[in-house]
């Protein structure tokens, strides 16, 4: 079973755990692990293209540079910039914040790839089925409106009724397209409502198209996630990083190391699952 084939609830628990640790600990050691593993998983699972990587790099550089330029707290002065002291502590804090931001960005992008819209609706459906229906209907109408806008515009162009030449014509043409679009979609909406009623909408519990059962593997995965997160939290608690006025972190306490190890394992958990699956697939292929 690949990571994205786990129950959507398990996937959500995983990302909540990892984002919580990433966003609420300012421990530079853990953040370094978070950054490296999030980039690694983005590269290995192809969830980011070159543009995304460049954007993340820009975010990292800007976030790391802003803090030492504007914050002058800290005891160790590295050099003077425009007459203001640039301190080691502020630089370290900026680097940590940048690592946090960048890895959270990577993880959020992974999350949006792993939880597709049908899975999100499946999760929301537990919360309030009516709201889930309304949200999915509206989201569907947004993309439907876009498609229909294009279609009406093309037909208007083909009829020779659409001119982009000057501003007034362009606005009038768009207003006509909008008017047609609204008439079409509203009338269509009534048909949708009638069809919903006659097919028995609201006459029973709503079922979803995709069925996600909870397997033993999902439960095991959630338990492993939660226990690793608890261990990491204990580690963070024991080796808290203090930045100002002087940087201080008891990194090499046993708890701190255990927390770091647990967090590393948590970060690469999806990769381990996927690699295990790939190996199994190869073995099956070689046997036949």
């Amino acid at each position: 079973m690949r990571f994205t084939q786990l129950n959507p609830f398990a996937v959500t628990v995983y990302y909540v755990c990892i984002l919580a640790v990433t966003m609420f600990s300012m421990n530079p050691f853990l953040l370094c692990i978070a950054l490296v593993t999030s980039v690694l998983s983005a590269v290995l699972t192809h969830t980011a293209n070159r543009k995304n990587h460049l954007f993340s790099l820009a975010v990292f550089v800007v976030a790391a540079a802003l803090n030492p330029i504007f914050v002058h707290k800290g005891l160790t002065v590295l050099f003077y910039f425009n007459g203001n002291p640039v301190t080691l502590e502020a630089t370290l804090y900026g680097l940590s914040a940048a690592m946090m931001l960048t890895s959270a960005l990577y993880r959020l992008r992974d999350l949006s790839k792993a939880l597709t819209s049908d899975k999100v609706l499946y999760l929301f459906g537990r919360f309030s089925p009516k709201l889930a229906l309304l949200l999915s209907m509206t989201l569907r109408f947004v993309s439907l409106l876009r498609v229909r806008w294009r279609r009406i515009q093309d037909s208007q162009k083909a009829l020779g009724l659409y001119d982009d030449g000057n501003l007034i014509d362009a606005v009038r043409g768009r207003a006509r397209v909008l008017s047609i679009l609204i008439t079409w979609t509203l009338e269509n909406g009534i048909v949708t409502a009638e069809s919903m009623e006659s097919r028995g909408y609201n006459s029973g519990r709503r079922t979803s198209y995709a069925v996600y059962r909870v397997h033993a593997a999902d439960v095991l995965f959630i338990l492993v996630c939660l226990s690793l997160t608890a261990l990491t939290a204990a580690g963070i608690w024991q080796s808290k990083a203090v930045y100002y006025p002087e940087f201080d972190m008891r990194l090499f306490s046993p708890w701190g190391l255990a927390g770091a190890a647990a967090f590393t394992l948590l970060s690469v958990l999806p990769l381990i699952i996927n690699i295990k699956e790939a190996i199994r697939w190869r073995l099956l292929l070689s046997k036949t």
Partner: protein, 228 residues
């Protein structure tokens, strides 16, 4: 769509939800939760807005039709948010509220914020925006008789709604920045937001002028033909 049968419960919910429950939820998200759990609060507000919507009709069939039409108007508002600078959300909420009822207006406002923020970025500001646009729709619905009789009043309402929305969002800015409310900060925030306030008001006026007649005619036609 379920219809709420008891008229007394309907009347109670109609006023309790927009003026007590949802503002309480927004205040909760700003103060107690420290702006962290905004997504859960936003979803809670959306559920409450849906409940409010259900107080607006007595028959199931009308409810389903009105829900689909509201979903389409919401989608139009989201679609319109891709236009640079000038946003038609208020204009579309006002039109929805005036023709489909105050409750539909609230739902349209709150949902279009929730959904368009999927594209534009969710954040601790989402509950505040939902309340702001929801109230704009709600009051337009309350005033629908007057607004329909005098078209220029609808345009004036749009302009005033833009200013009021900016003031509501400034409350959020102050709460977020200072961690508590402070009149001096609030005043300076409103002054520094004047360009945005003007932009909101102007774009509301422009879109109401553009949409009032064509969209109004279509909604009225649907209303007469199908009894939405």
């Amino acid at each position: 769509m379920i219809a709420i049968k008891s008229p007394r419960l309907r009347t109670f919910l109609r006023y309790a939800i927009p003026f007590v429950l949802i503002p309480a939820a927004v205040a909760l998200s700003a103060l107690i939760f420290d702006g962290q759990r905004y997504l859960i609060i936003s979803l809670g507000i959306a559920v409450l807005a849906l409940l409010l919507f259900m107080t607006g009709f007595e028959h199931r069939n009308i409810g389903s039709r009105r829900m689909v039409i509201t979903a389409i108007m919401t989608a139009l508002a989201v679609f319109g948010r891709f236009i640079p600078l000038f946003k038609p959300i208020t204009a579309i909420c006002v039109m929805t509220a005036v023709y489909l009822g105050a409750e539909a207006g609230f739902l349209c406002g709150a949902l279009s914020v929730l959904i368009s923020n999927i594209y534009f970025g969710q954040g601790p500001w989402t509950p505040f925006q939902m309340l702001g646009f929801g109230l704009i729709g709600l009051f337009a619905g309350y005033l629908s008789k007057v607004l329909l009789r005098h078209k220029w009043l609808m345009i004036l309402y749009g302009a005033l709604a833009g200013i009021a929305y900016s003031f509501i969002m400034d409350i959020w800015t102050v709460l977020w920045y200072a961690g508590g409310f402070d009149w001096k900060l609030y005043l300076s925030a409103t002054v520094s937001a004047i360009p945005f306030t003007a932009l909101y008001a102007v774009s509301n006026v422009i879109f109401l002028l553009l949409l009032q007649k064509p969209v109004g005619n279509k909604l009225r036609r649907i209303k007469i033909k199908y009894g939405v």
